[in-house]
Amino acid sequence: MHFPISDVTVNPLALAGVGFLVGLLGGMFGVGGGFLAGPLMYLAGVPMNFVVGTDLAHMTGKAIVAARRHRTLGHVDIRLGLLMIVGTIPGVEAGARIIERLEAAGSIDQVVGIAYVVILLAIGGFTCWESMRAMRLVRTERMAARDALAFRGVTHRVHGFGLPPHISLPASGIESISVWVVLGVSFVTGLLAGVLGVGGGFVRMPMMVYLIGVPTHVAVGTDLFEIVISAGFGTLTHALKGNVDILIALVMHTGAAIGAQIGAVSTRFLVGPRIRLFFSILPIVGASLVILSLLGVLGGH
C-alpha cells in the first residue's frame, strides 16, 4: 500500500502487526514500546525520519485505549500521573540538554548506547530477581499475592522523607508522601528518558513500584496515562517538523488498539509479581536491540 505523505510503499498488515505487538506490551506493562516499534517500523520500510514521530502518534492512540481500559479496572492514579508529568517534563528537557552539550563536545553515540544497555540490563535483572523473590514469599509466608513486593526497605525510607508539602494518593493506597519525592522520582525518570532518547516507560514503571510504593497494576495504568500526554505532545512537535505520517500511524493503531485492549484486560488475571516478572524481559530485549544497533546489524540508533 502506498502512503503518499512519506512517499513509501509498505505492507499495511506488517504495520498493523507491529502495532498489535507493541499495543499488547503497552496494555500489559505500561510501556510505549518505542524501543521495539522503531526498529520494526524501519525494517518494514518506513523512512527513518518518519519513524520516531509516527511511532509517537500511534503510541498516543494506543495509550488512550489502554489507559481508558485500565481506568475502568481502577488502575489509574490520575493525581499521581499529573504530578509526575510536572517532574517528567523538566527532566526530559534537562536530559536533552545534557545530550546536546555532550554532542557538542564530541561523538557520544557509543557512550549513550553502552549506558542504555547497562541501565536496561540492571532494570531487567533487578526486576526479574525481585519478582521471583516476591513470588517465593507469597508461597512461603502466605503474603497477599496481588501486591507482594520483596523490596520494601527503600520504599519505607522514601516514604519517611518528611519535607512538606505531603499528599495522599488513595488510588495507590498511599496515605501520605512528600510531593518532592514524587517530583524527584519523575524528574530522574524524565532525565534518563531524555539522555537515553526513549519514552521512559520501562524506567518509570519499576521506579513507581519500588520507590513510590505504587501497586504494580496502578503503576502500569498511571504510566499509560502519562504516556497519553507525553506522546501527544511529542506527536504535535514532530508533526510540526513534518516527521509524522498520520496514515501510517492510523494503520498501526488499528493493530495497536486491539493489542492494547487485550493487554490491559490480561492484567486482571495476573498478580503484581508475575506482571513484573514478564515485564523484566522487555528491558533485556531493548538492550539486545541496542547492542545489535551498536554492532551495525540494525539501522542507526
Partner: protein, 83 residues
Amino acid sequence: MLKNRRVRILIRNFAIEVLIYSVLVVVYFLLVLRLLGEPLMRLFTENLTIYAVAALVLIVVQGALLELLTSFLVSRIGLERLD
C-alpha cells in the same frame, strides 16, 4: 465452577467487544484514507501547523471515540463487561 463459567462468559463477551472495536477501527481508517487522504497530503505540503493538529485529532478520535462507540454498542447488545 460457577465462577469459572462466569469468567468464561466474560472473556467471550470481551472477545465480541474486541471484534466490534476491530471492525470500527478498520472502517474508520478506510474512511479517513478515502475521504481525507488527499486533503491530508495537501495540508502536509502547504500548512504543517493545521496538519499537526489534524493528525493529533485523528489519532485521538480513533483511540477515544471509537472505544466509546464500542462501549455504547456493547451496552445496547446487553453484554456484561469484563471490567
